[in-house]
């Protein structure tokens, strides 16, 4: 069916966007061993910065500059914040990033106010790339796919084919040894944190126009990003990719098709209580898949954590 193809593309866009966030987050996690709760906040900052820049210099300069600014900010947070908290242990680190997320949200409201920003896609991309059975695929979506894939390939190349990548990979596993070899490990950490947040910034820049640029955008996406990397396996780049796409497609398809709990329950052999409106289970029977599409990732995560605590691609001891 044509609609399946359309949904596959839509899900791919969602998934790849999620991947841009989770890639940075999982890099940071494998480096510092801490989940950065403020990661989605950097995504939001990316969107806001790009919006502000686009007012003066246009969308493309925003795409170029905003992630850099976000990356520098991120590196600053690592250098002056996290590094300090690191000595107290993991839980305070987690709590620090949690507080930072709150603070950034307040800061954004302080500067830009509470309303949605009129941040729009560039005019050059405002056309329909192609249509499948009457469903138009906007050019901007193709552009999003293109950017995400380019970033993934670039990341993979840097990590596995370059000297810098080797040093980073080594520093992730054996920081002490790498330090002894004369590399500046704190600098590497700061750099990785900066790059990770810059990636989130890129995601913000390209997602801002389609998903909306408003103070709640980090909160909406925030926890789903952790869910992604937990499902994928903490610290695994491939896991992040697979989990992102999985979540993208699961949510897209469950929204696109009205699967009803009633059918499932009947199939399982339950009989519908009558009259239904008077039953304590009425809400369970009336659930449809679009209703719960966005909480499915949480269900998936809890199940995975119960049966495979290290995620799909994670190492056992990670």
């Amino acid at each position: 069916m044509d609609l399946i193809l359309v949904n596959l593309i839509d899900g791919l866009v969602t998934g790849l966007l999620l991947f841009m966030l989770s890639a940075g987050l999982t890099l940071i996690f494998s480096m510092m061993g801490v989940l950065n709760f403020a990661h989605a906040s950097f995504y939001m900052l990316g969107a806001y910065f790009a919006f502000q820049i686009s007012l003066y210099l246009g969308f493309w300069m925003g795409l170029l500059i905003a992630p850099l600014v976000v990356g520098v900010l991120g590196a600053g947070v690592e250098r002056y914040g996290l590094r300090r908290v690191h000595q107290y242990g993991h839980v305070p680190e987690l709590i620090f990033t949690f507080g930072l997320a709150l603070l950034i949200e307040e800061l954004v409201q302080f500067i830009w106010g509470k309303n949605q920003m009129p941040y729009a896609t560039p005019e050059i991309l405002q056309f329909t790339a192609f249509s499948i059975a009457g469903n138009s695929i906007p050019a901007y979506k193709i552009f999003m796919i293109f950017i995400s894939v380019a970033i993934f390939i670039g990341l993979l190349y840097v990590l596995t084919r370059t000297r810098v990548g080797m040093i980073i990979q080594a520093a992730l596993t054996y920081p002490k040894t790498v330090e002894a070899l004369g590399h500046n490990v704190p600098l590497i950490f700061m750099g990785v944190f900066g790059v990770g947040t810059a990636l989130a910034g890129v995601a913000g820049v390209i997602a801002g126009p389609v998903l909306g640029t408003f103070p709640g955008m980090a909160f909406v996406l925030g926890s789903i990003v952790f869910v992604t990397i937990v499902i994928g396996g903490l610290g695994s780049l491939w896991g992040a990719l697979v989990a992102s796409l999985l979540i993208g497609w699961i949510t897209t398809f469950s929204k696109a098709y009205n699967l009803r709990m009633e059918d499932l329950l009947t199939w399982l052999g339950f009989t519908k209580p009558q009259p239904i409106w008077d039953s304590a289970w009425r809400d369970l029977w009336s659930i449809t898949s679009p209703q719960i599409a966005d909480i499915l990732p949480y269900i998936l995560m809890v199940l995975i954590l119960i049966f495979r605590p290290y995620g799909l691609f994670g190492k056992r001891d990670a």
């Binding site: 989940l35 914040g81 300090r84 908290v85 107290y88 993991h90 839980v91 305070p92 987690l94 709590i95 620090f96 949690f98 507080g99 930072l100 709150l102 603070l103 949200e105 307040e106 800061l107 409201q109 302080f110 500067i111 106010g113 926890s223 952790f226 869910v227 937990v230 903490l234 304590a280 289970w281 009425r282 809400d283 369970l284 659930i287 209703q291 719960i292 909480i295 949480y298 269900i299 995560m301 809890v302 954590l305 119960i306 605590p309």
Partner: protein, 432 residues
């Protein structure tokens, strides 16, 4: 080395031994007296409402700290246990026949049992691991139950929540709990009972082992304890007291809604607990008090309250990971040495100036905010009881000057404070 080990073993040990056998009663008596007297000092209904809220938050924060501080488990979804306890209690309030058979003061027991029941189910799988896995499961379960609150309308009442009437319960010695003050004493009684029970819990073998598992789960396993079951029992106990807090919420507000369950609520209790300090039993109490005041009182003064709270929180995590309680307890050595007084003047000099600097900075923030977001014709603003024009240059100069001078003095006097601090923490006669 060996002479270090053979110092006279009797003296300090004897002193401390007495301490570990008895439970200090004086603070508890004082606290109870304070709780009794407070409504006579703050008689307004709104003050009592705020104190009720405070007491509920204290119980919840203490319950939360059973996990975070004592068990080392970071939960991002603890609101659901309080929430579900509260929802259960409202449902009980609405069961006319049953509710008229039980006195209202017993209702929190049901809330607690409900919270405990849910914690038993969730804990059965979430406590197998601590750390990130536990945190993420708590987040996932929290999000799930919060999402259910708008889907499962039969129990959670949707976005409007469900409401009941506390006065339909069996009169308790003639008291029907029509007035806020009666509710206050009910909540206060539960506050004292819950706090005492939670304190005593931390002194039981299980409570001690919770600390051990927090510090070193592997070692605890080699002492015969299953780290998982220790965590599980802590989790269940915490669920009980969270449920009690939820029940008291139900009694005080007579309504439970989605906001009692959502992740924001879970995040706030983490904030309050950490702000107060997770390392000491009374930390969460301080945190809950300060936090409630900020939320209900500071928010009347400025709409930027959450911004300030965010700053304070981040600064706390960065510089005072022990929270307020940790800050206070830092003074214990100096107090033992009887040299606390020596810190007074330096404190006034540095912290006083620092506080003025903070007020100046806050003024700058408020003025910037007013400049950016107030309606265009609206140039006058009121700050610290002074009304002025935010678009003229003078207030800015004043605010900047106050900020700079305040922080400047604080910085200047900081070395003296550090000196005084060292002095106060060094026994007299000891080599410096």
């Amino acid at each position: 080395m060996t002479d270090q080990l053979t110092t006279d073993p009797t003296k300090p040990a004897q002193r401390m031994r007495a301490g570990s056998l008895t439970i200090p009663l004086i603070p508890w008596v004082l606290a109870a007296a304070l709780v009794m007297i407070l409504p006579f000092i703050f008689t307004a209904n709104s003050a009592i409402t705020i104190m009720n809220q405070m007491a509920i938050t204290i119980i919840f924060a203490l319950a939360y700290n059973m996990l975070l501080g004592q068990g080392g488990m970071l939960s991002f979804g603890h609101a659901v246990y309080a929430g579900v306890g509260g929802f259960a209690c409202v449902h009980i309030m609405n069961m006319d026949d049953f509710f008229s058979q039980i006195p209202l003061p017993l209702l929190p027991v049901f809330g607690g049992l409900m919270g405990m029941g849910l914690a038993t189910i969730v804990g059965a799988f979430s406590t197998r691991k601590a750390g990130t896995v536990f945190a993420m499961i708590s987040l996932g379960v929290g999000e799930l139950i919060a999402a259910c609150s708008v889907i499962i309308v039969a129990f959670f009442g949707g976005e409007e929540g469900i409401s009941g009437d506390r006065t339909y319960g069996m009169p308790f010695f003639g008291v029907e709990f029509l007035q806020q003050i009666e509710v206050y004493y009910l909540i206060a009684a539960w506050l004292m009972i819950s706090a005492a029970l939670m304190y005593l819990y931390s002194r039981t073998p299980l409570g001690r082992m919770a600390n051990a598992v927090r510090d070193n789960p592997e070692r605890a396993e080699f002492l015969g304890y299953s780290a998982r079951w220790v965590r599980f029992f802590s989790f269940v106990a915490s669920g009980f007291f969270a449920g009690v807090a939820g029940a008291l919420f139900a009694i005080n507000y007579e309504i439970l809604t989605e906001e009692n369950l959502n992740t924001t609520q879970s995040g706030l209790i983490l904030l309050a607990t950490f702000l107060g300090g997770v390392g000491f039993f009374f930390g969460p109490i301080l945190g809950a008090i300060v936090f409630t005041l900020v939320q209900t009182v500071l928010s009347l003064q400025t709409e930027l309250w959450a911004f300030y709270l965010g700053i304070v929180f981040v600064v706390t995590v960065m510089f005072f990971p022990g929270g307020l309680a940790g800050l206070l307890m830092m003074h214990v050595p100096a107090m033992r040495l009887g040299k606390l007084g020596r810190l007074g003047v330096p404190y006034v000099k540095t912290l006083g100036a620092g506080a003025i600097g903070c007020l100046g900075a806050a003024a700058l923030i408020e003025m910037t905010f007013h400049l950016r977001h107030a309606s265009a014709g609206d140039h006058s603003m009121t700050l610290y009881w002074i009304t002025f024009e935010s678009h003229t240059i003078l207030p800015w100069i004043v605010a900047i000057a106050v900020t700079l001078v305040g922080f400047g003095i604080a910085r200047r006097t900081a070395p003296a404070l550090a000196e005084a601090w060292n002095d106060a923490n060094t026994p007299d006669g000891a080599p410096r």
